[in-house]
């Protein structure tokens, strides 16, 4: 029953696939129930957002926006020589393009507000990333990041110290304490044999790592695999397959609409839009609730190449597709009934010291056992993210393969070999992570197996230290199964239809640093205006004083220091009278002209009239009285006159 007059909507197969039914994000039923992301703000952290676009403007949130490249509040993209700064606008259109405006297309969460943080169009530092991740974090609910370190198959990089701190701070203090939701694209390095576990944003436990599948549900040529991937959604594939239709900028070669948006860049905003739909029906979902619901509702589908494995908790995961395809209907219905009661727990097992550095080839397995007693202090029972931090040296980093086995035997390829990575420095405390053991018991023996698959005759790798960190909840395996059943029961949609709602705590009041900054140009303008005002005031005062002096000298000093200006015929002739009247007199200039026909000040009837009124109330025609505070008028005669 959903119809829009946007000309490209019929081509937005990812929203409603008529050619291959089912191969879309299943969102129309959610829209039919008025779930469109209303009340939620999504911010695109990218190269800017053309917020004047017809498809963006009505939903644009200037309050959530900022330009960190130019340091002003307007994230409008700047045209560049490569015609390349359309990226953020395209992502924004996928999320919140306005429907029924007869223009281009429709966003997944078309009722949400969309903000932009321009940060990718200039030099970028750790501190700038940190600012971006927390910018307006009480306004922006979801941060959509379709970018990351180079996907060249040889880079190992991610958020640095400040970026990590900002991500952590965002999930703790952002969104009134429910936690900012960070959605990141998993990477386009498939052709370079890259793996998203070498991308620190994808590895981070604070992010939702989203991969791409094409219209046929397969991993596209550009996509990367990794153990830290949470889920996938649709994007473009090879040339024979359709890409994502979305809003585009209209600068340079842009037409305002494109049919060619693709890559994992195009997948992450769709996920961000679906999360916005979840937050509309349940605004108090925490950042961990969102991750849990994705794990519980993502759907595994038939794809033999995906190598699906079902873990001990019953969740299927693939290094290619994470826990499966995101489904808007399932996400929203699960969000509606979700109760967040899980305490987050972490347990750190430190292993190995420099003194015990071992040759990787000689020590393929390290076996820490985590007992119930070990976990008692933290309360951790079931796993979410498992992180392994490694300090290892090797003359050719790409020759190393790292596998982590959870106590259940679930294997995660946390460090895939990369043929192009010839870095001679190894891993300097790099943290790999996996989500493949989600919901499994934390107790038992973990195995880290490192293999040197290189051709070098003498294996030269050394493992200096490694650390296992378990993140999870106090839920037991039974709790997990109960939750699975509860969420599955909600999939009929009955809770969406019944006006059912669980209570939501109000959240914390967390003050935000005043983000408004005065740009140099604004500052210069203000200074100029200020100078002009001061100059004009001085001129005006001088003019008044001079005219007063002239009047005083003519009147022979009979009225002291403040003669009435309208007494001066000369002043009237010079045109200064009108300006000086409101300051000292109580009459409208027009009235003065009409009533004060005589230039002789002493006999002017206005002065005694006004001064004699003890209980004075401002008459309509008295301009001075209207402008001035009443008490001023009740002061002494001298003050009344001047």
């Amino acid at each position: 029953s959903v119809h829009f007059n946007d000309p490209k909507y019929p081509q937005q197969w990812h929203l409603n696939n008529r050619r291959s039914p089912g191969r879309d994000i299943n969102v129309t039923g959610v829209w039919e129930r008025n779930v469109t992301g209303r009340g939620v703000t999504v911010v695109v952290v990218d190269d800017g957002v053309e917020h004047t676009s017809q498809d963006i403007a009505p939903n644009y949130s200037p309050e959530g926006s900022y330009d960190l490249n130019s340091n002003d509040p307007d994230p409008m993209p700047h045209p560049d020589v490569e015609n390349d700064n359309h990226h953020g606008t395209r992502c924004a259109g996928e999320i919140a393009a306005v429907p029924n405006n007869s223009f281009c297309a429709v966003g997944v969460a078309y009722g949400s507000r969309i903000a932009g943080i321009r940060v990718l169009d200039g030099p970028l530092t750790d501190s700038m990333e940190a600012v971006a991740f927390n910018k307006h974090y009480q306004i922006n609910d979801i941060y959509s990041c379709s970018w990351g370190p180079d996907d060249d198959g040889k880079t190992v990089d991610g958020p640095h110290h400040l970026g990590k701190a900002a991500l952590q701070h965002g999930v703790m203090a952002g969104r009134q304490g429910f936690g900012s939701i960070f959605v990141v694209a998993s990477g386009n390095g498939g052709q370079h044999n890259d793996n998203c576990n070498y991308d620190g944003y994808a590895n981070s436990i604070y992010t939702v790592t989203i991969g791409a599948v094409d219209e046929e549900g397969r991993m596209p040529f550009y996509a990367e695999e990794c153990a830290s991937m949470l889920a996938v959604t649709f994007s473009g594939g090879d040339k024979m397959l359709r890409s994502i239709v979305t809003t585009d900028w209209d600068l340079q070669k842009g037409t305002g609409c494109t049919e060619g948006h693709t890559g994992t860049s195009a997948a992450a905003p769709l996920a961000a839009g679906m999360i916005a739909l979840m937050l509309q029906v349940r605004p108090c979902l925490t950042w961990r609730d969102v991750q849990h619901i994705i794990v519980f509702t993502a759907t595994q589908y038939e794809d033999r190449r995906a190598d699906w494995v079902t873990n001990e908790a019953g969740f299927s995961h693939s290094h290619q597709h994470g826990f499966g395809l995101l489904n808007a209907w399932r996400l929203v219905n699960a969000a509606k009934v979700n109760r967040h009661s899980r305490v987050w727990a972490a347990y750190v097992e430190c292993l190995g010291e420099a003194a015990h550095a071992s040759t990787i080839a000689c020590c393929p397995a390290c076996l820490p056992t985590v007992s119930r007693t070990d976990l008692e202090l933290s309360g951790l029972k079931t796993l979410e993210h498992v992180a392994v931090t490694v300090f290892a040296t090797h003359p050719r980093r790409g020759s190393l393969e790292l596998k982590l086995f959870c106590p259940s035997g679930m294997m995660s390829l946390i460090g895939a070999p990369r043929s192009m990575d010839s870095d001679p420095n190894g891993f300097n405390d790099w943290t790999f992570s996996t989500v493949r053991c989600w919901g499994e018991s934390a107790r038992g023996t973990y195995r880290l197996v490192i293999r040197d698959i290189g051709d070098e005759p003498v294996p030269a790798g050394l493992l200096w230290r490694w650390q296992l960190t378990l993140f999870g909840s106090v839920w037991s395996a039974v709790d997990i199964r109960d939750r699975q059943r509860l969420l599955e029961r909600a999939m009929s949609g009955k809770y969406l239809q019944d006006g059912f709602s669980l209570p939501c705590p109000p959240g914390l009041k967390i003050p935000e640093e005043d983000g408004y900054t005065i740009t140099p140009n604004t500052l210069k303008t203000l200074v100029l205006v200020g100078c002009f005002t001061i100059f004009w005031t001085a001129y005006y005062m001088l003019e008044v004083c001079l005219s007063h002096q002239r009047v005083a000298s003519r009147a022979g000093g009979r009225h002291g220091a403040c003669p009435r200006p309208h007494c001066s015929r000369k002043a009237r002739e010079e045109g200064t009278e009108l300006e000086s009247v409101p300051l000292c007199a109580s009459k409208d200039p027009g009235e003065v002209e009409a009533e004060g026909g005589s230039p002789a000040a002493p006999s002017n009837p206005l002065v005694p009239d006004l001064l004699d009124q003890v209980h004075w109330s401002p008459p309509q025609h008295v301009k001075c009285a209207v402008d001035a505070p009443p008490q001023h008028l009740l002061q002494g005669k001298e003050q009344q006159m001047c």
Partner: protein, 104 residues
């Protein structure tokens, strides 16, 4: 940055450091931190560009604007590193380097 100028505007292509100051005890902590940051930046020959976003106690110090030569830059770096490394209020500091990030 919460200051009036971003890092690029204050010191285009210049050196900059992120500094994490130890939180002082008692009331008026934020003011004390601000004052401490100002004094420290001055001692290091740098300009305090303000707090880094929402990160409490984190400040960005930048090279003062103006014409520079490579040798001057190195001298500024050495002075800044020496001051920041030796100051007891500095919990952590790091010179800011350009990151390479790609749209996907």
């Amino acid at each position: 940055l919460t200051g009036t100028e971003g890092p690029a505007a204050l010191s285009p292509g210049g050196l900059s450091w992120a500094v994490h100051l130890r939180s002082p005890e008692g009331e008026g902590k934020e003011e004390t931190l601000e004052q401490q940051a100002e004094a420290l930046a001055q001692a290091a020959g740098l300009v305090n560009a303000g707090r880094i976003g929402e990160l409490h106690g984190h400040y960005l110090f930048v090279q003062p604007a103006g014409p520079k030569q490579d040798q001057q830059g190195e001298a500024i770096r050495q002075q800044a590193e020496a001051v920041l490394a030796g100051h007891e209020a500095v919990h952590w500091h790091s010179e800011q380097r350009l990151l390479k990030r790609a749209k996907r």
